[in-house]
């Protein structure tokens, strides 16, 4: 059986009898019948933000480290020491600190993570042009057809990638290798941290059989509930369904589910996966129902969303509003615009309209807004509003303030509203 030593990268066509690598004596041997044939991979860094912090501050090495914002924020990343104590990503900070009172809580240093991510990206770029980053710390890679170029099968190059990340950047990652994106992503999670897991074509069906469907990326608690109602819990349940019935019951998702049930996923690894939405949210220092405070937050969030849209040359036809009540209930609202926008003014006014229509007294702990249904910004704000003749002047004013900020910094000119 094809075998690879993940430490010295020696390849073996038949697995050596010994457990240790005959070349370097390492124990991290990987054997799989299809090991040298598979080429779609998912690379996921291990506790990325926490690992960057531990690398930059060796004193933290054996301490539980939690990355997250403030006393009232949520856990963004927990290192493996903290995970042992039950801390998980997205857990409210107070709960995390209850489980792990001695944790070192660090505010995210995004610049450092972006730098580390760029360095990893540069290493991936040497392997293939077909890279699809999902976030700073994970990406799909398609190494199909690169064996001649690199003189080694994809599995070897991937093992080399994580080895280099460890040696040169001091960061570890896990690899999932399979024959499509869905399974590669599933695989990268099987053997974390510092893992390398393979799901071959021959074993796909057996592998999925009794796995829960929530393994599918995009099946969250809500979708899980809908599937539960249809009696679908595992892939085996899903596979019993007729394609037509699934489509009738779950719409466009139905057909995709039918294919995923069979381990089929024809999405390509694409470097230019279009962005679907832009949003920003903030958790308040204290729950509030003060309309002035909320208004200030809403404006700042709208401005952030607008800045990001402008930076990417995008505009959106849908404005969304998200609020989390003090009791953690989530309220979301959305409205379609006649034409797409990217101005903070229209995002704010639309979201404000949604907020006013809520008629909900609060108090809230989080507020966010966003743009969805994105399009290029040539199509943005192309028609005015008869009933709001000031809109075009405000748009011009916003363009002028953007210019001023570009030259004199983001604090150079502010709306009074943003100081609330």
């Amino acid at each position: 059986m094809p075998t690879l030593c993940r430490d010295c990268l020696t390849q073996f066509e038949t697995a050596p009898a010994a457990k240790r690598c005959p070349t370097c004596g390492g124990r991290r041997m990987l054997s799989h019948p299809e090991l040298f044939d598979l080429s779609i991979a998912h690379m996921d860094c291990d506790a990325f933000y926490a690992s960057v912090e531990k690398r930059d501050n060796p004193e933290l090495a054996d301490k539980p480290v939690i990355i997250g914002g403030g006393r009232r924020g949520v856990v963004s990343t927990a290192c493996y020491v903290a995970r042992i104590r039950g801390v998980r990503s997205a857990m409210p900070m107070f709960q995390a600190l209850k489980l792990c009172p001695d944790a070192v809580v660090i505010k995210p240093r995004m610049e450092a993570y972006v730098d580390a991510s760029r360095a990893i990206r540069a290493m991936m770029d040497e392997l293939t042009p077909a890279i699809e980053p999902l976030s700073l710390d994970e990406a799909f890679l398609d190494l199909t057809g690169t064996e001649r170029l690199h003189g080694a099968p994809p599995a070897v190059m991937l093992a080399r990638l994580v080895k280099r990340m460890k040696d040169e950047l001091g960061l570890t990652g896990s690899i999932g290798l399979s024959h499509n994106k869905f399974l590669a992503k599933v695989a990268s999670d099987l053997d974390k941290p510092r893992g390398f897991a393979v799901i071959g074509a021959a074993e796909t069906t057996d592998f999925l059989h009794d796995k829960p469907v929530r393994l599918i990326w995009g099946i969250g608690p809500a979708a899980q509930q809908t599937l539960d109602k249809a009696g679908i819990r595992t892939f085996a349940d899903l596979k019993r369904w007729d394609k037509r019935d699934l489509a009738d019951r779950f719409g466009s998702m139905g057909e995709r589910l039918w294919h995923l049930a069979r381990g089929e996923d024809r999405r390509r690894v694409s470097a230019h996966a279009p962005m679907k939405s832009i949003s920003n949210e903030t958790t308040f220092f204290e729950d509030t129902s003060d309309p002035d405070l909320l208004d200030g937050h809403l404006w700042r969030m709208a401005e952030k969303v607008s800045d990001r849209a402008k930076a990417k040359g995008l505009a959106g036809r849908v404005v969304t509003l998200k609020l989390r009540r003090a009791n953690f209930d989530i309220l979301t609202r959305r409205m379609s615009l006649r034409d797409a926008t990217q101005t903070a003014d229209r995002i704010y006014r639309s979201a404000r309209g949604l907020f006013d229509a809520l008629n909900d007294p609060g108090p809230y702990r989080l507020l966010g807004c966003g743009l969805a249904d994105l399009c290029p910004d040539e199509q943005a704000d192309i028609s005015g509003d008869l009933l709001d003749p000031g809109a075009s002047q405000r748009k011009e004013a916003e363009r002028a303030t953007d210019e001023i900020r570009k030259r004199f910094g983001s604090e150079a000119i502010l709306k009074g509203r943003s100081l609330r």
């Binding site: 409205m335 639309s350 309209g353 509003d385 008869l386």
Partner: protein
């Protein structure tokens, strides 16, 4: 209750009433029609709690009474019965069923108690007047396309009907706008209507009302209060809540200083707009109008899918102008023109444009341009 009624009369009454019933109802009784038989007629009543329709039809009433039954099911049954059939409806209080018999067909339908059916509270109407159906039809038909669907500006989700000063005296006026286009349509003021408070008639009511207005000469009795409006013919009474909100001051939206005048055959124009817009697959298809001495060039340039251009002979004598519009908006306003040429009055490529039919100012439309 037991009645016999001719299938045609029954179908007309039931189908008119049931169209008010929402397809999805969380309150079961709102899916039902209330049938009430007395004397020599039967009444069908339907409501969605905002609109109520009462439709009367002559019937042979053997036993007076009332019940409620699924509007959709009854409508479907009657629709499928053969033309000219005599239909007998019998409500059996003991079994709680309504039987529908016609020829050899026999249906038994579940009912809900009549007491549970919500009857819209009657209102004290401040204004009562009669208007010819043709007049109301023109007012609403020519304005409803501009009604907004935007929920946050709910006060735009209807037609604002009110009394105003027109060019030739007091008029009954309907205005609708969604912020991108606006329609303002005037009709001679029915004498008793002066003093009527302005009301915003919801979109659904406007659509339901249309069914009462087919007969040009019919007189429609209109009653208006601050919260409700009622339209009645001898057979049908449509009562609706009005939108509780303030319609914006539309007068300042209508441009008065636009001087660049284009005159064009409206239907040729609409067809040309439709043709050139074909190449664009975007939702807001932008059409560019390039105007020069008696010449109009319509063009669409969609980088992803293609380009199109068409030239029209028009009457235009002002300086060159290029201005862009949403193709759908242009077509919809051009569609309102039915007798004379369409006259467009422009100012600049960024200002609202006015459109009317010939020199007739009783119906004017305003449309906002797009950047192209």
């Amino acid at each position: 209750m037991k009645i016999s009624i001719e299938r045609g009369a029954l179908l007309k009454a039931v189908s008119q009433a049931q169209s008010v019933v929402e397809r999805r109802n969380t309150i079961p009784i709102l899916a039902n029609l209330l049938l009430e038989a007395e004397g020599s007629e039967v009444q069908f009543r339907a409501t969605d709690l905002d609109i109520e329709v009462v439709d009367k039809a002559p019937a042979q009433v053997e036993r007076a009474g009332a019940t409620t039954v699924s509007a959709h099911t009854l409508n479907e049954i009657v629709r499928k019965l053969p033309d000219g059939a005599l239909v007998t409806l019998t409500a059996d209080a003991a079994t709680g069923r309504l039987t529908v018999e016609a020829g050899r067909s026999n249906f038994s339908l579940a009912t809900l108690p009549r007491e549970d059916f919500p009857i819209m509270a009657s209102s004290d109407y401040d204004s009562n007047f009669a208007a010819p159906a043709g007049l109301l039809r023109r007012l609403f038909d020519k304005s409803k396309f501009a009604i907004s669907t935007e929920e946050t500006r709910y006060y735009l989700n209807g037609v604002y009907m009110h009394v105003a000063d027109g060019d030739e005296g007091r008029v009954l006026r309907c205005v609708a706008t969604d912020g991108h286009r606006l329609a303002r349509v005037d009709a001679p003021l029915p004498p008793e209507a002066d003093g009527m408070a302005g009301v915003i008639v919801p979109r659904k009511t406007v659509n339901e009302l249309r069914k009462l207005l087919d007969d040009d000469d019919a007189q429609i009795a209109v009653s208006v209060s601050e919260t409700k409006i009622r339209f009645a013919t001898p057979e049908i009474t449509l009562t609706s809540k009005v939108i509780d909100g303030t319609f914006p001051d539309y007068a300042r939206v209508i441009p008065v200083g636009n001087t660049k005048r284009l005159e064009v055959d409206a239907s040729e124009f609409a067809k040309a707009v439709d043709r050139v817009a074909t190449v664009s697959s975007e939702r807001s298809r932008a059409v560019k109008l390039a105007l020069d001495e008696d010449r109009l060039v319509l063009s669409v340039n969609a980088p992803d899918s293609g380009a199109a251009e068409e030239e029209l002979a028009v009457a235009y004598g002002d300086e060159r102008l290029e201005i862009g519009f949403n193709a759908k908006y242009l077509q919809e306003i051009a569609d309102q023109v039915d007798r004379e040429n369409a006259v467009f009055l422009f100012n600049s490529s960024g200002d609202p444009t006015l459109m009317r039919e010939g020199s007739d100012t009783s119906a004017v439309y305003v449309v906002m341009p797009m950047r192209v």
